[in-house]
């Protein structure tokens, strides 16, 4: 039995549509146009029209940006262009991390029936314009808030902030780079089957080990790919399912921050995401073995490691052995991992927007050459640690 009863708010909603713009390393179109492309595609994918939409949300809110190219598709301008009347809106930067969490709360409580949430990045173009991946916080002249303890000492990128987690994890569990390489290598093989992925050419463990170090032990292929592209997701009331083209169920979701909400102050850098995963599993009868496909966050390789362990797909410290050789996490394996290539090869669409879009496609059987046969349960997770979200999505009807 579930500990929470059957009246979970997330069971009152479905994900009805996903849509994406073109996705690429650099695209010569504005973030605004990419946003509109994705929203119109997602609404059509849901079987709805723009006039059905009564809620809008975007990540990040308020146009807040710490990185060049980070925030696009301003909520006010998008609403004005689409000519939509809203009964609910939200900008999400801090929060529940999963793109559909806030919209699901709004729909489940009757504040809106069909909410569109979007995330648009132009970080690929921004990196090109900066002559390389730019420093975090370089949109401001001084490092404010938590960045004051990171940027001035030279931790100028999320890479430098995540690297000590990787160092500590490898130290505690004896996991090697040769093992971890299989995450980006296997995901690249998946990306080869995804025409929208940014990088699709084969990658080997030798390529990984020979690649340049960015901030040790994180090498080039441990980092997600700055990209240009927009993803939109439509969250609808489950009672409208009959009007929808191909909805997907939300079985359970949670986001728990149980440590210090700070990259450098997080207490135990070898263990991240466990409280979120435990809270999520407490809301469902499904177990890790029931998951058919894992679209788990991979801003860096180590983040996928966190979620493999925290979600219980393997034990603490076992992710290296779990992924080694790639068989378990391949399309035909027991836990196909980031079947679109993930952010490591598919592009840094960020905040689990790309992961959610892929999960929906897999559960509908619409994932083309990379389809996992008979996928009925998908795990989706976002970031980890100081902000974290985890969910199970299911094919519809349940």
């Amino acid at each position: 039995m579930t500990g929470m009863g059957t009246d979970l708010f997330e069971r009152r909603v479905v994900i009805s549509g996903v849509g994406q713009s073109a996705i690429g390393r650099q695209l010569d179109r504005s973030g605004f146009q990419l946003t509109i492309d994705a929203i119109l595609a997602a609404v059509a994918d849901a079987g709805l029209t723009v006039d059905d939409i009564d809620g809008l949300a975007m990540f990040p809110g308020g146009g807040k940006a710490n990185l060049p190219g980070y925030a696009n598709g301003n909520l006010y301008e998008i609403q004005d262009a689409l000519r939509v009347t809203t009964t609910w809106r939200q900008g999400i930067i801090e929060g529940m991390c999963l793109p559909f969490y806030g919209p699901a709360m709004a729909v489940a409580t009757g504040q809106a029936r069909h909410v569109v949430v979007w995330r648009t990045v132009k970080e690929g173009s921004a990196a090109r314009n900066a002559g390389g991946r730019p420093a975090y916080g370089s949109t401001n002249s001084a490092a404010e808030g938590p960045l004051a303890w990171l940027l001035p000492v030279g931790a100028l990128s999320p890479v430098c902030q995540l690297a000590p987690y990787t160092t500590r994890y490898m130290h505690e569990y004896g996991v090697t780079r040769e093992q971890l390489a299989w995450i980006p290598v296997t995901q690249r093989a998946h990306a080869a089957l995804n025409p929208d992925a940014v990088y699709r050419s084969p990658l080997t463990v030798d390529d990984y080990l020979a690649s340049r170090m960015i901030s040790s032990p994180i090498c080039l292929y441990d980092c997600d790919v700055p990209a240009d592209g927009a993803t939109a997701i439509v969250v609808s009331a489950a009672e409208t399912a009959a009007d929808l083209r191909a909805p997907v169920g939300v079985e359970a979701m949670a986001g728990v921050v149980d440590g210090r909400p700070s990259w450098e102050q997080w207490e135990d850098m070898g263990r991240v995401g466990y409280a979120t995963a435990a809270a999520m599993w407490a809301r469902t009868d499904l177990r890790p073995a029931d998951v058919d496909v894992a679209e788990i966050y991979d801003g860096f390789t180590i983040e996928a490691v966190w979620w493999l362990e925290a979600m219980g797909f393997c034990g603490p410290g076992e992710a290296g052995a779990f992924v080694e050789g790639g068989k378990r996490i391949s399309l035909g394996g027991e836990l196909p991992l980031n079947t679109w290539g993930g952010q490591l090869s598919g592009g840094r669409l960020h905040a689990a927007f790309g992961h959610t879009a892929e999960a929906v496609r897999q559960l509908r059987g619409e994932a083309g050459d990379r389809q996992v046969a008979g996928a009925r349960v998908a795990a989706v997770t976002s970031v980890g640690g100081y902000e974290a979200g985890a969910a199970l999505l299911t094919s519809w009807p349940r």
């Binding site: 991946r133 370089s138 002249s141 430098c160 040790s216």
Partner: protein, 157 residues
């Protein structure tokens, strides 16, 4: 060496009411953290509030070394034009100061010799915008504490 030593490349801190005492002490080479007047717990970074008992009456106390490295990275990427690389960044904790972990540079050894558990002394170096930033100094290898020997690190050196 092409960069001017007196003008390090980087992004300076925005100094606030809460953080001004830290940065002022840093300029004098001293590492300050907040200590609760009521329960004596130490907190970092400074919030003007005790993270243990939520008391608002805090004073500033100096932490002296050595500390030990909880984790680290060696950065090779030139994130900004003119940034000198590589350099090691270390997360340093101090035995007997459970609320305190400080991110900083590492000097006194090649960056590639950074190790978890290594002993470091407190130090600062010129940073961006004229601010002094934490820059820990590697303690000679023969006096370093074992990797898991955090307790008693102050005595070991």
């Amino acid at each position: 060496m092409t960069a001017t030593p007196t003008a390090p490349v980087g992004i300076p801190p925005a100094v606030t009411e809460e953080t001004a005492p830290f940065w002022e002490a840093a300029a004098a080479g001293r590492l300050l953290v907040e200590r609760c007047v009521r329960c004596e717990a130490e907190s970092f970074p400074p919030y003007g509030m005790c993270r243990a008992c939520r008391g608002r009456d805090v004073e500033h106390v100096e932490i002296t070394g050595p500390g030990h490295v909880y984790s680290f990275t060696v950065n090779y990427q030139r994130w900004m034009p003119g940034l000198e690389v590589p350099y090691a960044l270390v997360l340093v904790e101090f035995a007997g100061h459970p609320g305190v972990r400080v991110f900083g540079r590492l000097r006194g050894c090649p960056p590639q010799e950074a190790r978890i558990g290594m002993a470091v002394e407190v130090g600062f170096e010129p940073g961006p915008g004229g601010y002094a930033v934490p820059s820990f100094i590697a303690v000679a290898a023969e006096s370093a504490v074992p990797a898991e020997g955090a307790a008693g690190a102050e005595r070991a050196a």
